[in-house]
Symmetry: C2
Subunit: 241 residues, 2 copies
């Protein structure tokens, strides 16, 4: 018995090549800096075309496992880093995906005059109009996020009239202003007085805070501070060589 009992999935050829190299790297057979077999070596080894080998190697490069240099060769990359994809999804979706009940309470919804700094973030002038909302998200009745948001009226003029029981601010903004770019930071902070009150936590309980600015077609759409009680919220991730 050597292969494919019954109609077992006949793994694509490029995956055979890719897995062979990946296993060699994660098993330590090749270590950081080692020269790997060339494309033509792999062509002979696996009896496949060069395009197929090339796809395997390109994907390993995109995964950060190898480095390639034209005219020189393919090498095992330094794995002195753990990279993985951090995904920040719409919170309502995330909660529902866990099979829990998502609720949202609007605490504030208003128009404000931009400070100089805020105006700068949005490419507007100080004193220009901005929308401001503060809403709290609940999972099975427990507060999990305080969302303090500024919105550029130019990209979402109807923002103040949205029914946030039907559509979360994130969902609405993604709909009216297709996401093209985002920048975020993650830090640990103590809650403000208001955040502590809205989240029903102690002012001494640390919060995981995500600050995010998003852009659509190069224009700033919204700037948001998402505060999560540290005791109930964490980000998870993984990585596989």
């Amino acid at each position: 018995m050597s292969e494919a009992l019954s109609t077992a999935d006949p793994a694509p050829q490029y995956l055979r090549v890719k897995n062979h190299l990946r296993e060699g790297i994660s098993s330590g057979r090749w270590v950081a800096g080692d020269l790997l077999p060339s494309e033509s070596d792999l062509v002979s080894l696996f009896k496949v075309s060069r395009m197929t080998v090339n796809r395997a190697l390109r994907e390993l490069y995109q995964d950060g496992l190898i480095q390639r240099m034209q005219g020189v060769g393919t090498f095992v990359a330094d794995l002195h880093r753990i990279s993985s994809t951090l995904t920040v999804r719409d919170l309502a979706e995330e909660v529902q995906a866990r099979g829990r009940k998502h609720e949202l309470r609007v605490h504030l919804l208003e128009t404000v005059a931009a400070t100089a700094e805020q105006a700068g973030d949005f490419g507007l002038r100080a004193g220009d109009k901005l929308f401001h909302s503060v809403v709290v998200h609940f999972e099975n009745g427990k507060s999990i996020q305080c969302e303090d948001r500024l919105v550029n009226p130019a990209t979402a003029p109807e923002y103040l009239d949205v029914d946030f029981q039907q559509t979360t601010p994130t969902q609405y903004l993604l709909k009216v202003a297709p996401l093209s770019e985002a920048r975020y930071t993650i830090e640990a902070l103590l809650p403000s007085d208001l955040e502590a009150k809205l989240l029903c936590i102690s002012k001494r309980e640390p919060c995981l805070v995500v600050k995010r600015r998003t852009f659509s077609r190069g224009v700033a759409v919204t700037s948001v501070k998402l505060s999560h009680p540290g005791s109930t919220y964490l980000l998870e991730g993984g990585f596989q060589a």
Copy 2:
């Protein structure tokens, strides 16, 4: 004048296709759920081979911008998420890359008997030997990370003899046990008494805490808790459609 003044970089064909679609998506010409042109449409449009079109589409899929269904078509993905690569590098490298001075102080280096829970993490039995280290990292003389680590002696028998002034624990472990898998969480916590003392911060200052377990060839190598003062440390990231 229609093309290539002088020897301007002749962008690869697959990038022309990829950029055309990406710009259409981020400009809102196509929005989430829309059907995109088929591979054969793009072949005629750009006068290139199907393999070239296919590469462009495959990369857009890997970037999370489109969804593809065999027999159906290619659609704009829901961008109800912001994904980006979170990279956790060796701290010494990171500090040096910023042009700062990295220092490290070893606070503890010992052998301990595994508790039942720790043993489980490492696939050992309660009471088995584990190495334990607590070191503090400094950037330009300022404490930035407290690293509390357990190490599996089977994968790094010489751990206790390493000179951590020369090689950080992370660097050493990556060298002796090639990284094959990692799992981490990120949360906001108050420091323990020891952490507060070692980091020279108040016991009320929130910390950004990364807990990470890494594996090599399927065997648990190390389990570490990295605590960073919230006031000086944050994770940054970005995303571009």
